[in-house]
């Protein structure tokens, strides 16, 4: 259980986290979403007591993190930047951490086995790939068998198998009644992993709701139809008070009967469209209700709070040369992994 009250972080004049309130509950996976620079990592660092809030409080399991007598068993965290000295082996790194709580050696072996690091446990971390580094970070987070887990971009640098493994692990840990607080840039991954979402933009909470509710905030809603009788169906839809357009967005009235065409019908739900087709003798090849994906709902919600706007909408773009217009690359896992590697080398 994580509870933030009025939590605020200011860097100079800039409010990175702006008086936010939220609760992360046990027994479920809570996703933490937001554009780069929205305050996700800062919030996570404040939960761990690494950054001092300018104002407000954040409690973990009822206490500020630093007040716990057995911190590693309360919270395990994988933070975005690597937190491992490259000169130690994976085993030594875990041993150093385990010593602070006199955790048994058998627990080190357990988390090494759990994260699949057996074959590299005695190798120096400096030579690890990003994915192995992430696995070791997860092993460190799990070391104290904590009741709360904070994972900042845990699937960074992992292969598809590793991504699925993290998803199953998060679901499993939450199923045991633990609190799992997870941030990720991969929306499809988040949609499959999280039960609940907290969305942050420009330091403010934009949404705090279940994944289903969140997806419903997306405005896209229509029924996709494929039919060889597009003109007849379009007419019937219009008569019933709906609207049928081609996927290109042009009204479907001009569609030619005979060739199979796709239509997007809004204003009517799928059963209504199906019944219309039956009563009008129209053959349907496809009838699919379409709504916004998590990603689309997220993009709509955060459109106004992007810290770095990439490009102005076409037509309004000021005259800039191509180099500066495209200078900003959105943070893909690959881009941030390069950063982490740079940091590790430094």
């Amino acid at each position: 259980m994580i509870e933030a009250r009025n939590l605020t972080k200011k860097y100079g004049d800039k409010l990175a986290v702006d008086h936010i309130n939220f609760k992360v509950n046990p027994g479920m996976v809570t996703g933490f979403l937001g554009p780069n620079g929205a305050g996700k990592s800062t919030t996570m660092r404040m939960i761990m007591g690494l950054d001092r809030p300018t104002d407000g409080t954040v409690y973990v399991n009822g206490l500020p993190y630093a007040k716990h007598v057995s911190p590693m068993t309360e919270v395990g965290a994988l933070l975005e930047a690597r937190a491992i000295h490259p000169g130690r082996s994976a085993y030594q790194h875990l041993k150093v951490l385990a010593a602070t709580h006199s955790l048994p050696t058998s627990r080190i072996d357990e988390v090494i086995a759990l994260t699949g690091l057996e074959s590299v446990a005695d190798k120096r971390v400096g030579g690890f790939s990003l994915g192995m580094g992430q696995r070791l970070g997860i092993a460190s987070a799990l070391l104290g068998n904590p009741s709360t887990l904070i994972l900042d971009e845990p699937v960074n640098g992992l292969d598809p198998e590793g991504v699925a493994w993290v998803r199953n692990l998060c679901r499993y840990l939450a199923g045991q009644g633990r609190t799992v607080f997870l941030s990720s840039h991969l929306m499809s991954e988040m949609a499959q992993t999280a039960d609940h979402l907290i969305v942050i933009g420009r330091g403010k909470i934009l949404a705090d709701m279940s994944v289903e509710q969140f997806v419903e905030t997306g405005t896209k809603r229509y029924v996709r139809v494929a039919t060889p009788n597009a003109a007849a169906l379009a007419q019937a839809v219009t008569n019933a008070g709906g609207r049928a357009v081609t996927p290109g967005g042009t009204p479907a009235g001009s569609a030619v009967d005979g060739a199979v065409a796709h239509l997007e019908v809004s204003g009517l739900d799928a059963p209504a469209v199906g019944e219309l087709a039956l009563t009008n003798g129209v053959v349907l090849h496809e009838l699919t209700p379409i709504s916004s994906t998590l990603e689309e709902a997220y993009m709509e919600m955060t459109a106004d709070s992007l810290e770095y706007q990439t490009l102005a909408p076409l037509g309004q773009a000021p005259a800039v040369d191509a180099d500066t217009a495209f200078a900003y690359a959105p943070a893909t896992p690959a881009a941030s992994s390069a950063d982490v590697e740079k940091e590790a080398q430094a």
Binding site: M28, R45, A66, V69, S70, T73, L79, K95, A99, N168
Partner: protein, 310 residues
Amino acid sequence: MSAVMTDALDGASVNSPVAKYVSRFADHKIGFGKQLRSEWLKMWTLRSTWWMMGATVVLMAGLSLLFAGVMDLVVNEMRGMGGGGAGAADISEMSVGIVIVVLGYQLAQLTVAVFATLTITNEYSSGMIRATLSATPRRLRTLLAKLVVVTLTTIVVTLVGLTLAWAVTYPLMSSNHTLVDFSQWDQVRSLLGTVLYLVMIAWMALGIGTLMRGSAGAISTVMGLILVAPMILGMIVMFAPNIGWVGQIYRFLPSEAGQQIVMQLDGMMGPDSGAMSVEMLSPWVGFAVLAAYAVAALAAGAWSMKRRDA
């Protein structure tokens, strides 16, 4: 493993109220002794520690052996010129033996300072500090644990270095009748002072490292204080002795003040003060000045560690 996970998932519905999860290690509390053990492991699992501490011992013994050899040559030369045992007799009055045994501190202070600085700066540069402070969030205790471990290591390594320096120079010193005289308090003070001096240098370096966080900047600062500043000011004092205030700064530099406890010996002036117009501080006053620098650096580091974001 995935089968186990699936079973467990089937057993727990996400929206049903779940019993509070308690770690099976919840009774494993943090403690200062455990933190010391962790810091000790942290230190000795890095190769750089072995290199630097090995180098400290080798430099101390090596420099002593080198100077013992030079002394032996000089004494033999004097014997040849002056005739009889006059040269040897003179040297036995002059505490040459103790100076040669402790001389290595001049090099050891560099490796000890780098070692102590890196103890904290390598945590900040690698990001390890975040793992450390996640495991042990009480920051001042974490710094104190590092301080204890650095102090113990410096004491042990210095004692080993001194013992080795004494042992390897024993044959040459013995033949020149200039062995360390353990019955003379100033010579014993010089030996103890070597340990104390290096411990204070380590403290100061750890404090500066904690304050500055970056390895390069912190090491440069420490080296500037104990190596470059004495060299430059020393030259000014030597060649322009009439600029009084430079001499005042010079004798209050951490290394110049602190090393009086090692180098001020009966029957022989310290290597710096001899040729200088500046009157150096007395051994314990000088040491107190160095200790004040060390404590001030640690206090500043502790304040910064407590206040600043990790």
